[in-house]
Symmetry: C2
Subunit: 114 residues, 2 copies
């Protein structure tokens, strides 16, 4: 498996959990302290840390520690890559429908000449 | 957990596997028979059926059977929902950066008047 495939696996896996999506949702509005999430999600601090670890390994979130406080920030580059993968497949499908439209138009045109 | 959350869980979970992404990739170009995937992916037919089942449950792929041949097609509406979820979070982040830019500009403006 290539690195790129592994990265996509990890990103989509990280997004496949409501608590982890809630963390991303929160971080899209502003940076946040690790301790903020426990209250927001109604889960224990170890559970928050586990979710953050999955998000960090997927490259979706990074964190920095100042003194005893760890602050998290969203990495939108990784989020863009996941979005881009989906978007490219949707576009391919769209082009296929366009081509089908041209084909149908040509068919209709030919029928008119009959 | 709401239905919408469950649907997002299933969609991202379905996308978190290289073989399932390869099936989506293939279907973005044209519909395909179930038997086509075994050769393409180099896996057994039961494995293909298992992946297709995950994709169908996530609403990403649908299939129809004519005689003994089952043909699969991509459901781009579901793909759009996954893309939209990511896009909305990226946009929120973007607006936050814009707001920060305005704040910095205001600050610089104020300093000029000092």
């Amino acid at each position: 498996m290539t690195n790129q495939q592994q990265q996509l696996d990890r990103m989509f896996q990280a997004l496949a959990d409501g608590n982890r999506r809630a963390i991303i949702d929160r971080l899209s509005k502003s940076d946040a302290k690790v301790s903020d999430f426990a209250g927001q999600l109604g889960v224990s601090l170890p559970t928050v840390l586990q979710h953050l670890s999955v998000l960090e390994q997927a490259g979706l979130v990074s964190s920095r520690k100042v003194g005893r406080v760890r602050t998290c920030t969203l990495d939108t580059q990784a989020l863009s890559r996941a979005e881009q993968w989906i978007n490219e497949r949707r576009n391919l499908w769209g082009r296929r429908l366009d081509a089908l439209g041209v084909l149908l138009e040509t068919d209709t045109g030919e029928q008119t000449h009959d």
